[in-house]
């Protein structure tokens, strides 16, 4: 990752936009990542979300397909 990657713009979507996107797209076509703790994930998460706690994101980036859009919460 280069220094400029830190400055790439990241869109913030509203929950309605996320809902519409998830309803329209196949699960194969996006990464949906829950970056909270395992305990929070267990208590409730968006259907199909993958758990990668924020502290592990850097080491587990390979698990995400960089050619697809990624939604995190």
């Amino acid at each position: 990752m280069g220094i400029m990657d830190y400055f790439k713009p990241v869109d913030t979507w509203s929950p309605d936009k996320v809902r519409q996107f998830l309803n329209e797209e196949s699960a194969q076509d996006y990464n949906l990542v829950d970056v909270r703790t395992p305990k929070e994930y267990e208590q409730g998460h968006l259907p199909g979300a993958q758990l990668i706690p924020v502290g592990e994101l850097e080491s587990r980036l390979k698990e995400l397909d960089r050619t697809k859009p990624t939604i995190t919460y």
């Binding site: 913030t12 699960a27 968006l46």
Partner: protein, 182 residues
Amino acid sequence: MEGGIHAWNGLRAAGPPEAGMAYFEPAQKPEEMIALAWILEEGAFKFYREMGKRQKGPDEASLFRELSDDEEKHKISLFKIYQRRTGEDADPGFPRSLLSLESGTDYLEGGVVLNKALEWAQGQELKDILDFSVSLEVNAIDLYIKMERKVEGGEAKEVFQALSNQERNHLKRLTAALQKDW
């Protein structure tokens, strides 16, 4: 997502990251995931069938009967995909032999024992049973999306995608039923 999970007012799945697999470890190989899905479909089938029998109103009974019929079809789809993947190596003890589960115990999503759920449902109103059914369906969608991502092979992916779409339809029917005056 703006506002994070707290801003999400849609339905949520619950349970650990391995989609209930923690209760049935180790379900990691595709064949084991298919076996796990079959067992959960069997549990849902039996739960809805029993709820259909217990309802006095024809519309309520019909809703649960139709849901149980669909879950039965899902079991057939899963078994076919298992057979196609394993061919002559298909285990005659499918699905339980693949997961080392106790015989005679049926499970629902999240590792809930079917008999406990049936016992709980005895004293509940229809709304509570519908609520519980919604949670089963949300977790089923969650499970199938994860399986679709994990499993190799186009055909199996298509089956899991079709199953998650069908469970979405169940969810729509159940949430519509929740809003109805029975």
